[in-house]
Symmetry: C2
Subunit: 634 residues, 2 copies
């Protein structure tokens, strides 16, 4: 049973696409998805076998748990995220390898499940700590949440199977242990909430949704034992979610929690809860989000900073936080239909998520800073790497959440490209490929989309097949796309950011040309972002650009570039050329310190030359380099 | 036996003052020292009794170590730092309370010493981990280093006593265990190096100096077991000290190590080692030091950042790092006689060290950021507080290194105010008080210094007594003091930053008037400090000033202040008034994010009004507040 009419993960009034409703044909995302399929999935599998993380399940199954256990306490979750990726990959392509690998992993996971449904390789067996004895840091419910998401992906692409049964039993154990009459606990790392809500929706099982609701309502009352030197905001246990104005603490935790809250709000018709997350999104996007869409300003706790605390150099912008941000925005989009959520998703897809994988799909950015002062040291390919090392993609990490998270996201990217509500289809993300969308009463809409986006802004949409009943096709015009235009065979007209409805009856053979302006443009930061005052960035369509030392005669010249913003940036390839002067940076010094009694010189007649900028997502692909997104102006 | 001719902690060609050679009479430092004496010492004692950190010694003495031990593994060091403070206090004033308290603590500490000299309350006894089983994090040698420094203070103010004997036995145990034929280990937290070097010098025992040298040479070869998620630079085990160009990793560790290295370099005549530390000082001060003198740009590892990574908001600038920086600068000054080291010490004394204590001496800043966006939550007076909480002084911390470090520094402040070399006396720091300096052959120089510095720049130096042989008196003219002047009864003339020799024969009755220009002045950051681009700071004499929301009609107005640098700041009290406009910060927005397609408005004709700035060291004394040192310009 393939149930592609069920949205990928979270419906409101709208649904997203099933993973086989949109087949990418090369292009930006098709290319990334192919590398994910042919390299990354196998890469993750090999590393987790090599490190013994998968064998942890075998050890539990044979009762051999007294010895030392490899991996962090949350390593089970990596296997589940890989399984989710395999499920989407099978759903997308029918890959036999993906299916067989999924089934083989299912056997090993299932064998480790206790009789009462509890499933974790780090707790509750001989020689291990007791079940749920460390809710703050144990991550047991977090792991279970990822198991449930993997099962939902399987349910939606292959139907009921053994993993779904394993997940059902695990969810039942959670409900028995932590239900209204059970232990009044929550998990230090949110994820169980979204897992339970998704499974509840997919199986039509309100008990699971109710358990997710319980976990969400319990949170924010300071019941978690503090982690050394961090306060309760680290795991969002400082304030009930309904009372918070912005996201704070560990970014991935905050965002997984918000994703679960939207699911629960939608499924229980809880407008107050939905509004709380919408409010937090608005405030956090306005004041705590990078130009790339990245979230997380602090390394210390992998967390959000205060309002306007957005340092480009120490930006954490964890790849997983970008993925989690899109989980939240996607759910809010489906719940409200507002295009601003899809706008942020596009930004995050191109400038956080696409930045992470190396071209070969076998190394990844964990942190995604917007400024690297000096080229990072190379990683050693056969070793696990520290997670926060910026500026170099590493094959695997000590805490290796990002590679598998990326794998599941890329394998299902197309699901976020459009939404359907009754007789209205909305295109959200533009990519080369063939859409065949199931509508009501068995009807289908088939579109062929041809584009080199984002390299160019020309997007050709050919209608191949329409239902007999009238249908409306809407196009999202991105928030940055001032000057976009739309044309069909007879008319061409300007369109504004927001929704643009394709005019006239939608018939097979109709061709629509959308043109998004992807000329490079200057973007200035808000006055209150202290860390990039006096700087400008350059964007091109959805792409944030950057200067990389690789393109400069002297690597350290990246410190002295000053952009002339009176000259518009010119397109070059998918990057740009800007005019820049080089300022003197060694003024006569009175003191040993870098503070002077005279202001910096501002010679606006300084000679300028052209400097190349490249898409941020490609930085450090030509080797380790210094880089900056925000460039000081003359 | 009082041996005040032995310098306080580190001689080169020069020596500093014994703590009773300069008696402060009120004023800036006299006031802080009095509060330290009457409040802080007792405060530290009470907290450490209350928390059981002192009783840890009693538990070891009676063999009762199987139960849970209060405090971190390094809590012994806090008792030793308090003892060092008590030793200086007794030397300074002859306080019977300080002496009795020192003696009582000595008894309890001595009772915990093992037969072979090993002394630590956390390791090596029943129910505890083995001695030296965790050199990376155990801090045993770190604690011993502080014991040795306390003993040196006692030796210099009261002569040989029981604590000196305890220290000697502890140092012997360290030499036996870690000597050339012993275990090839180093401590994760440097401090044993400086402790051994000081004790070796004070006792004339080259074995201790040699052991310090061994620890220093062993470092930087990656032998310490890594701490989770941090690399070897965290504890300076990445590079041999002779090869490093700048300080990196945990700031206090880097600086304590450097202090020990200077001591060893001087006592073993090792120019290469001395030059290495001088080079690191120069590079780190030029590129990794805040305007306040604060060091440490990162919360994550309490560490230095990269060159030019100096965020004002996330500045860590730990109080202890300021103290440690002055330990290094003091040693380099004594080793080289270069006034730049005393310049940095003055900056750090006034803007890091003086900022930490509350007016009542019973609460302290741990971190010293240069920008606080919103008022911090108040602390609860009866609880230990997280260390990194900025913006509010707390009575005690979970990791409470700063209060006792401050206590020992304030109790010996006057020792750094002048140096002596043969017949040359150099005044380094200016404060109200009476100096009586021992010269060669029993001669003495007595000076009375009268000043309200730094509130005013007038410093009156009256010669009360001189030796029969000629003597030279030099005054340090601070690096910021362009326009200073010097006058005696007959002449007045301009003096330049650097040394200024008092002219004419120095006779009793001679009066010298030094005038340092303390009008408020603008200071601009180097072009490469990205985090404060487009900003200016205001200084006044040695004081860094700041804007505090307490002085603004609307607290959030601190975000929108834009300084008009065409109008010089005016003096007001010990602060200043600057002219500032308020910029609009809510431009028409196209997107949900804080990035715009138009540049910020720059209306230079905007109406300005006067805004008050206060000395940074006093911020948050009138209650929790937002604050900034670097202010954006119009």
């Amino acid at each position: 049973m393939r149930d592609n009419t069920v949205p990928v993960d979270a419906p409101g009034r709208l649904r997203g696409l099933g993973v086989d409703e949109f087949r990418l044909r090369g292009g930006f995302w098709g290319g990334l998805q192919a590398v994910n399929a042919t390299a990354t999935l196998q890469h993750c599998l090999e590393w987790m076998e090599r490190l013994g993380w998968i064998a942890n399940f075998d050890r539990v199954a044979r009762g051999d748990t007294d010895g030392e256990r490899p991996g962090w306490q949350f390593s089970d979750s990596e296997i589940y995220k890989l399984m989710e990726a395999l499920a989407w990959e099978y759903g997308r392509t029918g890959s036999a390898w993906a299916d067989e690998t999924f089934v083989a992993l299912t056997e090993r996971v299932a064998a480790a499940q206790d009789g009462d449904g509890y499933l974790n390789t780090c707790y509750g067996h001989g020689g291990q700590a007791e079940r749920y004895s460390d809710l703050s840091s144990g991550h047991e419910l977090y792991c279970t949440g990822h198991l449930l998401q993997a099962a939902v992906a399987r349910l939606r692409t292959a139907g009921e199977d053994k993993l779904v049964e394993v997940a059902r039993r695990a969810a039942d154990e959670v409900c028995r242990t932590f239900g209204a009459d059970g232990q009044d606990g929550i998990c230090g790392h949110p994820e169980i909430e979204v897992g339970l809500a998704e499974l509840g929706r997919a199986l039509g099982e309100p008990r699971y949704t109710e358990q997710a609701r319980l976990f969400i309502e319990r949170r924010g009352r300071g019941t978690l034992k503090p982690v050394t030197l961090l306060d309760a905001s680290y795991f969002q246990d400082d304030l009930p979610i309904r009372e918070a104005d912005a996201w704070r603490g560990h970014a991935v935790r905050a965002l997984y929690l918000a994703a679960g809250a939207v699911d629960v709000a939608v499924d229980t018709d809880d407008t107050d809860l939905l509004n709380a997350v919408e409010r937090q999104w608005a405030r956090s996007v306005e004041r705590r989000t990078y130009l790339t869409g990245g979230m997380g300003s602090r390394h210390q706790d992998e967390g959000f900073g205060e309002d306007w605390e957005l340092p480009p150099d120490r930006a954490y912008c964890e790849t997983c936080a970008g993925i989690a941000s899109n989980m939240v925005s996607w759910r809010l989009y489906l719940a409200t239909g507002e295009p601003k959520y899809a706008d942020l998703m596009e930004r995050t897809f191109y400038n956080v998520i696409a930045a992470s994988p190396a071209e070969d799909g076998k190394a990844f950015f964990y942190a995604n800073p917007l400024h690297q002062r000096s080229a990072a040291a190379d990683v050693r390919p056969d070793e696990v790497n520290p997670r926060a090392e910026g500026g170099v993609r590493a094959p695997w990490f000590d805490v290796s959440c990002c590679p598998t998270n990326l794998a599941r996201t890329l394998a299902s990217w197309q699901a976020y490209a459009a939404s359907v509500e009754g007789d209205q289809v909305s295109l959200l993300q533009y990519a080369n490929g063939d859409m065949r969308i199931a509508l009501e009463n068995g009807a289908e809409l088939a579109l062929r989309i041809s584009t080199e986006y984002p390299r160019t802004g020309a997007i050709r949409i050919e209608v191949l097949e329409t239902p007999s009943d009238p249908i409306e096709l809407r196009l999202r015009i991105p928030d940055w796309a001032e000057g976009a235009s739309l044309a069909d065979e007879t008319t061409a007209y300007a369109v504004e950011p927001g929704w643009s409805v394709v005019p006239g009856p939608l018939k097979a053979g109709k061709v629509i040309e959308l043109n998004l302006p992807v000329d490079p443009r200057f973007t200035w930061p808000d006055e209150r972002i202290d860390a990039v005052r006096g700087c400008v960035a350059v964007e091109r369509g959805p792409l944030v650009l950057c200067a990389e030392s690789t393109d400069l005669a002297e690597p350290q010249a990246i410190e002295t570039l000053r952009i002339d913003t009176t000259k518009l940036p010119l397109a070059e390839g998918d990057g740009a050329i800007v005019r820049a002067a080089s300022v003197p940076v060694d003024p006569a010094k009175q003191a040993a310190l870098p503070y002077h009694s005279t202001p910096p010189s501002r010679d606006r007649s300084a000679e300028t030359s052209g400097v190349r900028l490249i898409p941020y997502h490609r930085w450090a692909q030509r080797g380790s380099a210094a880089m900056r997104v925000f460039l000081p102006t003359i």
